[in-house]
């Protein structure tokens, strides 16, 4: 793509029609919770946009975020939009390695100083001066501080970069922190989720291209267009919650009828994300539609927030009870343990349905 070419000109040169573009904007407007009538306005603005330089640095992460994006797009129109950002550095995807790769990074930062979008996935290790996670002999902490200086905006991709994620979970041996704990003088957009929804990333980039600004963010720095409502608010099972119809186990009558999974520990009511509308696996389904409650993966510290199968209205920290038992005396703890074991054994011998409380033991 020529440097001065707009997205629409580039698409037309590739043989794509205006209708294709309008269609893409209709799907994007749907995802961004904009009224369908906004599609035409978006097409107009996005068509005139020019591609930005993007530098993507992976830190303490599992590559799940990259997997999520690369598997879900190609070769859709979102993929094409993604092609049209100038992805100047991405260690997992780029062909170059070693000194060549590091040179590409330095060149991209120099040529586009003050204008590039920096994407970070993974948390930043601060323990032992960042020595727990190094690339090319440099700590992630050091790389982040250098790359952030020339960035126009930073996208913290995934729960690890946004809130610390698994690396930050107790006892956080590497001193992992989110990007926002290190960088204070640049706009940071958190796209949380483990992994995040791929099209949300495209949506944020499209927003940046369409309006030339960072989208409106919530108190956790996430774009409101995608994280403005809870999973619960957009869930097709929500009416059953309102009617007081709940599944009590994963295979009872209520579960078969598709009733609300609140009592089985669904974290939908406190989790902000777009899963219920954009869905996963090419729009096939999302966890609740597949019969499992939301685990709240796009919320801060979700790993340490208690059991996934504990209903929100019941106490969610089993460790408290262990501590209480210890204070009350070892005998009480042993008694609880025996009672649980006996119940589990009884259920096993009678082939009873396992309940959520069994899963917690």
């Amino acid at each position: 793509m020529d440097k001065g070419e707009t997205l629409l000109e580039h698409m037309e040169r590739q043989g794509m029609s205006r209708r294709t573009f309008l269609k893409y904007c209709a799907s994007l407007a749907s995802l961004m919770a904009l009224p369908p009538s906004a599609a035409a306005a978006m097409a107009e603005a996005l068509g005139k946009a020019r591609r930005p330089s993007v530098i993507w640095l992976p830190f303490q992460e599992c590559t799940g975020c990259t997997e999520s994006i690369t598997r879900s797009h190609s070769p859709s129109v979102e993929g094409l939009i993604f092609d049209m950002i100038s992805l100047d550095y991405q260690e997992t995807l780029m062909a170059a390695a070693g000194f060549q790769a590091e040179e590409a990074l330095q060149n991209a930062m120099k040529e586009n100083y003050g204008k590039y979008v920096l994407i970070i996935d993974g948390s930043v290790s601060t323990g032992m001066d960042g020595a727990y996670s190094c690339i090319g002999g440099r700590s992630n902490l050091d790389s982040l501080q250098e790359a952030a200086k020339g960035a126009a905006a930073i996208i913290a991709l995934g729960t690890c970069a946004s809130f610390g994620g698994i690396p930050k979970a107790n006892p956080n041996p590497t001193g992992a922190v989110p990007v926002s704990d290190i960088i204070k003088d640049k706009p940071i957009i958190n796209i949380s989720g483990c992994p995040p929804i791929p099209v949300v990333i495209t949506g944020v980039i499209a927003h940046y291209l369409t309006f030339g600004t960072v989208p409106e963010l919530d108190k956790h720095g996430r774009p409101k267009a995608f994280y403005g409502e809870t999973i619960h608010d957009r869930c097709y099972r929500r009416p059953f919650y309102d009617q007081g119809k709940f599944a009590k186990t994963f295979d009872d009558e209520g579960a078969r009828n598709g009733w609300c999974l609140f009592e089985l520990g669904c974290k939908g009511p406190i989790t902000y994300n777009a899963c219920a509308t954009s869905k996963w696996n090419d729009g096939t389904s999302f966890p609740i539609q597949s019969g499992h409650g939301c685990i709240g993966c796009s919320e801060p510290d979700f790993w340490d927030a208690g059991g996934f199968y504990k209903a929100l209205s019941t106490p969610a920290n089993p460790l408290k009870y262990v501590a209480a038992a210890a204070v009350a005396g070892a005998a009480a703890g042993v008694a609880v343990s025996f009672a649980n074991r006996a119940r589990k054994q009884k259920a096993k011998s009678e082939h009873e349905t396992a309940t959520t409380s069994d899963l917690e033991k």
């Binding site: 209708r19 309008l22 269609k23 893409y24 799907s27 009224p35 369908p36 097709y236 078969r256 009828n257």
Partner: protein, 137 residues
Amino acid sequence: MSSISQIPVQVLTANDGLTGQAEAVLTEIAEMLSRFLETGKGDSIDLRSLPLSPADKIWLDEQLGRGEVEIGIDAGGRSVVTETAYAGVWKIEHRDTEERIVAELIEVTAMPEIVQPHKTDIEKSYNTLQSSLKQIS
């Protein structure tokens, strides 16, 4: 459990899973039609943004029925624009090149926007046709 036949299988009826949301959508469509008749201004509903259960979607499709017109669009994947049994109410389904549904809309208008060619494209085609004619003559 001694045999597979003892596993309790229950066949759900078509009304199982209805949440009552689809009925609200139908009322909204009636409102939009009324507005269109009064002002000539079209409107649309994004079906994917609504918490409709699979049963709700089937119910809504049955209620809207099918009209006389079906338009296929081949642009970055297949799109189907179908007139419902109610004139002026269209159902639009956009798919990408891998057949994944990317948008599902109800549009209340005389002719959905995606069907109509853009003025710039018409101007371009006029110029192309003119140069073709020059080459022929």
